[in-house]
Symmetry: D2
Subunit: 349 residues, 4 copies
C-alpha cells in the first residue's frame, strides 16, 4: 500500500528498456545527438507547434530555470502560497535566479484566485524600485493538492498576465495527470490558454529522471543554453533523458500511465467516500487524494503497512481538520495496483 508519493515508484519497464536499447553506440554529447533531436521534434508534434525544449534533471531545476529565463533585477514572481517553488524547493528558485522573490497569492484548494492575483500585482507599481518589479506568474497544474485549474481559469490568468506584460509559467510536475483528467490536448492546456513556459515532468509518471523545460516562445529561451550550463543542468550523455522521453511518448504511454494513476485515484476516492471513518478534504481531480481521519485511524493504517504522509493543512483549508484529526495525502501512480487500493479500502471500511 504505497501512497507516499508518485516518486517512490521506480521506472516503467518500457522506460528501462529504452535506456538499454540506446546504451550502445556513440552519439554526440550535450544534447546534440540524433535522438535528442528526434525527441525535440516529438515535443513539437505533441504541442502542435514549434517549441523550444531543454532537458534538465529535476523538477526543481525546471521550475527554477524557467524563472531564471524571465528573471529581472528586483524581480518578483507571483504564485500560490503553497506552490512548490515557494514552499518545497529549498530556495532553489531564489538561488538559481540570483535572488528573485516569490510572492504568495492566496486561493482556496491550492489554486490562485484571480482577484487575489490582480491585487497582488497591483501592489507593485511600475518603476517602484523599493517594492521590486513583477517578472512573472506561475501556476501548478495539477496543483500541489491534486486540484485543477479549468482551461477558462488559465485563460483568465494569462489575460491578466498579458495586461501586465508578465510571462505565464506552468509547473507541470504532474502535467499528464491533469491533462488526462481534463481530457484536453497539451496545446489546449498550455499555449492556447496563454501559457508561455512549461515545466514538463516525466519523472513522477514513470520515468527515472526526465524533465523538460518547454518554451512556447523562443524569445524566452534565448539565454537558456547558458542558463542551463551555468546551473550545471546540461547533461553530457543527454540521450539518457531523450531515450526516456522517446519511450514515454511512444504509443501514448505517458497518457496511459497517467490514466492508470488517475483511475486508481478515483477508485481510492470511492473507497474514502464510502467510509464512515474518513472524509475527503476536497474533491480530488488528478492522482492525489487528501483525506481527513482520526489520529487513531491514521496510526492504525500506518501500523497495517500503509505508506503515506500526514500533511500540513493548506492555509486556506486549515479549519477543515478538527482536533484529534489528521489530514493525510494519498498519491497514486503508474505503479499503483488495484490490490493495494482494495486492501486500503478494506482497512477503512
Amino acid at each position: 500500500m504505497h501512497f507516499a508519493s508518485d516518486n517512490w515508484a521506480g521506472a516503467h519497464p518500457k522506460i528501462a528498456e529504452s535506456l538499454s536499447r540506446h546504451a550502445g553506440g556513440f552519439a554526440a554529447a550535450y544534447g546534440t545527438s540524433a535522438l535528442d533531436k528526434e525527441v525535440a521534434q516529438t515535443f513539437n508534434e505533441i504541442f502542435e507547434r514549434e517549441v523550444t525544449v531543454f532537458f534538465v534533471g529535476t523538477g526543481t531545476a525546471a521550475n527554477s530555470l524557467a524563472q531564471a529565463a524571465i528573471a529581472k533585477p528586483g524581480g518578483v514572481t507571483f504564485a500560490h502560497r503553497e506552490a512548490h517553488l515557494i514552499e518545497d524547493e529549498g530556495g532553489a528558485p531564489g538561488f538559481l535566479t540570483g535572488g528573485a522573490r516569490f510572492q504568495s497569492v492566496d486561493g482556496t484548494t491550492g489554486l490562485m484566485h484571480i482577484d487575489n492575483l490582480k491585487a497582488a500585482i497591483k501592489g507593485f507599481a511600475p518603476g517602484n524600485v523599493h517594492v521590486g518589479q513583477p517578472m512573472g506568474v506561475s501556476i501548478t497544474q495539477s496543483s500541489e493538492i491534486g486540484t485543477l485549474y479549468e482551461l477558462s481559469e488559465i485563460a483568465a490568468i494569462s489575460t491578466l498576465c498579458r495586461e501586465n506584460g508578465l510571462p505565464l509559467h506552468m509547473d507541470g510536475a504532474r502535467f499528464a495527470n491533469a491533462l488526462v483528467s481534463l481530457g484536453c490536448s497539451p496545446a489546449d492546456m498550455t499555449w492556447r490558454q496563454g501559457v508561455d513556459i512549461l515545466s514538463f515532468g516525466g519523472t513522477k509518471n514513470g520515468c527515472w529522471c526526465a524533465e523538460a523545460l518547454v518554451f512556447m516562445d523562443p524569445a524566452h529561451a534565448r539565454e537558456m543554453p547558458f542558463i542551463r550550463k551555468r546551473s550545471a543542468q546540461l547533461f553530457s550523455k543527454s540521450r539518457f533523458i531523450a531515450a526516456q522521453f522517446e519511450a514515454y511518448f511512444a504509443d501514448g504511454l505517458w497518457l496511459e500511465l497517467a490514466a492508470h494513476a488517475n483511475e486508481m485515484a478515483t477508485r481510492l476516492t470511492n473507497r474514502v467516500e464510502a467510509s464512515d471513518e474518513l472524509r475527503l478534504a476536497w474533491q480530488p481531480r488528478a492522482n492525489e487524494i487528501f483525506a481527513i481521519m482520526s489520529n487513531d485511524m491514521s496510526a492504525k493504517l500506518h501500523a497495517a503497512g500503509a505508506v503515506f504522509y500526514d500533511w500540513k493543512p493548506p492555509h486556506s483549508e486549515r479549519n477543515l481538520v478538527g482536533e484529534n484529526e489528521t489530514l493525510v495525502r494519498l498519491v497514486t501512480s503508474f505503479a499503483t495496483s488495484l490490490k493495494e487500493i482494495d486492501r486500503f479500502g478494506d482497512l477503512i471500511a
Copy 2:
C-alpha cells in the same frame, strides 16, 4: 573511429541492466532508499574509511558544489589555468558558489606547479579584503590533457594546503582512468595524500549519469544537503543513480572499464609513435592522447570518418604546434574497440 570524447559512448550493458532490475517496486525518494544507503556503504569500503557521499547529476555540478561547500565571501580557489572548472563549465562554479573566483595557476602538461601555486597563494595576504581570501585548491586527476599527478605531487600540494588552511579538492571526472594508470588504491590517490573532497565521476567511464561528491571529512559536508537542494541537484528517484553505481562497483566493473580504456589508449599511443606523420604532444598517462599532425592529415582523418576534436594548445605548450599543424585530442573509453584503433592506426601509418 570515435575518439571525440568518452561521453559520446552510451552506457555499459551492466549499467542498463541494473537500471532495469531496480525499476520495479517502491522506494523512499530523495536519496533515502535502501539502495542509496547500500551504495553509500560501498563508497566507504572503496575508500577504506567513512566518507560522506552525495549523488549529483553532472560533473559540473560535482565540481561546483564541492566549491560551494568550502565557499567564503570574497573566496578564491586556485586551479590550473586549463582546469575544467575555470575553462569549461560555463561559469557554473562561480554561479553556484555565489560569486567565488577561480585563480589560474600555471604549470606544464596540465599540472599545477607547486612553486606557482605557492606564489599564487602568497598573493593573498590574510585579511586583505581587497584581494579576497583563499578558500581552496583544486586539482584534476587525470588532468584535462591526459596527464597525472604522482602521489608525491598530490601530497606536496596538500601539505601546502594544510599550511594555508585550505581544503584540497580533486576533480575526478576521469578518476578511474588515473587510478588504474597509477595502480594504486582510491584511498592512496585521495585522503592518504591529503585530498579532502572528491568529484567522483562515473559518467565518462560507462554510466549514463552517475556522479558523486565524496567528502573525506564530514565537517565539509555539513551544509551540503541544503546546498545540493538549492542547486536543484537532489534527485527524487535517486536510486536511478544508486543503481548505476551498484553495477559500476560490482565485481570491479569500474576498474575493468577504465583499464580497457587505458589499454586502448596505450595501443593508440603506440600507433601514433610508430607514425611518421604524427607526434605525441606529450606522454599520455590515462585515456586521452594529444597528437600533432599536419592540417592535411587532420582533414584526411576526418574525411575518413575519424571523429575527434581539434584542440586549442594549452598555454604552456602553445609553441609545440607549428604552422600548418593541428593539435588533436583522441579519447578512448570503455566502448572503444581494437578495430577502431587499428583502422585509425592504418590511416596514419
Copy 3:
C-alpha cells in the same frame, strides 16, 4: 509642512560642521583611520560592551549584510509581513545573501506576534531540505508603522530564537526614536534582551549618510569584512561616515534629535486626536503617525501644501479604512518645526 519622510530632511548643522572639520589632513583609508577607531570605541561605550562595528552606506545595506552574516544555504529569516527587508528593499536582502528567503510572520500594528513566529519556525523541521533551514529572525524597532516592541516582547522573541538556535537581528533605522520613547538604554533595548545584530541608523535622524552594522557577538562578524567588501560597501574615505557619527554622539546630539522628532510627533498626534475630521489608525509610539481621513480631506491637505504619503493599509489593519477614506503617514524628524505642526493642525481642526 513636510511629513513625507524623515529622509527628506537634510543633515543637522553639527553633522555638516564635523564633516568640514575633518576634511583636511591625511588619514588611512578603508576604515582604519584614527577617527574610525575612536568612533568604534564610542559605540562600545554607548552599548556598554565590546561590540564589532561596520559602517555601511544605506539602511538597506545594513539589513542585507546583517542577513548575509548569518546566511545559510536554503536559509530562511522570519520577519513581520510588512518588514522593510521584505517589502521595501527591492530584493536586496535576497540578492546580497545569495538567495535567502524571507518568511512573512503576521501580527497586528506592525509587530510580529510571538505565537505566529513560533508557528512559522515550527514549519521548518530541522534537516528538511525541501522547506529550507531557519537562519534568523528580524524585528524592526521602531516598526515600519511607528509602533514599538516592549522590552519584554523583545526578550520573549529572543528566548524563542535561542531555543531554535537563531540569531536575532534588529532593524534600527529609527533606533533612536524607539530608544527615546521607551526611555531605556541602548544596551537595554538590544543585547540585554538578546538582540545579536543591530542595523543602527543615523541617516533618518540627522546624518547625511551614516549607518552602522553592530554585532554584539564577534562570532557573527567574522566574515563581515569580506562580505562588506564584496557587497561594495567598504568606503575608502570611511572617515566621512565616522565624522558624522562623532558629531551624532557628541553631547547626546542623537538623543536630542530623536526626542525632538518624537515630541513633534506627540504634538501632531494631539492635533489629530482633537480633530473631528481625522482619527489615528493606531497609537503612535515614535515619530510616525498614521491617520485616517476622508479622501476629500487628504486632497485638501495636499492642496494646502502638506507633503505626506497616502499609505497602503497593513494587512492586519486593512479593515480600518472605510470607503472614501485614505490612510496617510505623517513623519516628523529633527528638522520638523512647531510651526509646521500648528499649520497642519489648523488645517484639520
Copy 4:
C-alpha cells in the same frame, strides 16, 4: 609626505562647504530632488550629450554595477590582468553580477594590448556554452599603474568591441587625472572613442564619497534603477552626493584639482629622475609614480616619515625589479603640497 593613496586625503573645502549649504531644507529622497536633477543636467553638459547618470557610493559599486548592467548568464568580461575589478575589489564584480567571470588580458604598463584582447575574445566561440559568452570589455583610464590609453587606442578597442557586439566600459576612478593629462574633453575620452559606460570617480579627486555611473546609451541603463536598489546602492539622502558633485563641477574645480595632483606628480617625477638612488619603473602619465629603489632606501624613506606602499610588480614588468630592490607607488592628490614633494626630493637626492 603622504603618498600612500589619493583616498587618504579628506575632502576639498569647497566640497564640505557645499554639503553644509545644502544641509537645510527638505528635499525628495532617493535621487529625485531638484539638486539631483540639476547635477544630472550638469553631466549632460560636461559630456556634450544626454547621458543617464546614477550615483553610487563606491568605485567598486560603480564598476560592479556597470558589469551587472551588461551581465549575461555565463558572461565573461575582458580586462587587463591587473584591473581593479579583477584584482582589488574583493570579488564584488563577480558577486554583484550574479557570477560573471573576468578574464585577464595581458599587456605591458597596465594597458591591454589589442592583439591579446582580440585573441582572448576569439577563445569564446559564439554559442559555446562550456566556455561562456563574452559580455563586455573594461579598460581603466588612467590605469592602475598611472599610465594612459591614447585616444586612438581606446578607439581601436571599441572598434573590436563593436565587431563582437560587446559594450565597452571605462573604469574612471581617476578619470579627471587622465583627462587633464591628455588635454581632451570628457566626450573625447569616452563616447567619441566608443566608450559605452563610465565609472566616473569623484572620491579620489577631492570628494568625500561621490561616484557616478554614466551610461552613454540609455538602453544599457534600463534595468539600472532596480540593479542599484537590489545592490543597496540607492541613497535616501542622495543629495549629499549631488551636493558634492555640484561643487566638484562648479568653475571647473574638478579639473583644477586633477591638474594640481598631476603637477605634483610631475615635480615628484623630476626629483626621482634627478636621483641616483631611484629610477622610474615606467613613465608616469597621471598622478601615480612607480619607482624602484634599494630596500635600504625604502626603509630609510619610511623611517623619515614618508607614507607610501611597496608594490607588487605587475606581471609583465616583474623583471624590472632586481634583488634587494623594492618597487614603490607614490600617489599625489589635490591635497599634496609642494613642501612634501621637496622634502621627499631632498631625501632621495
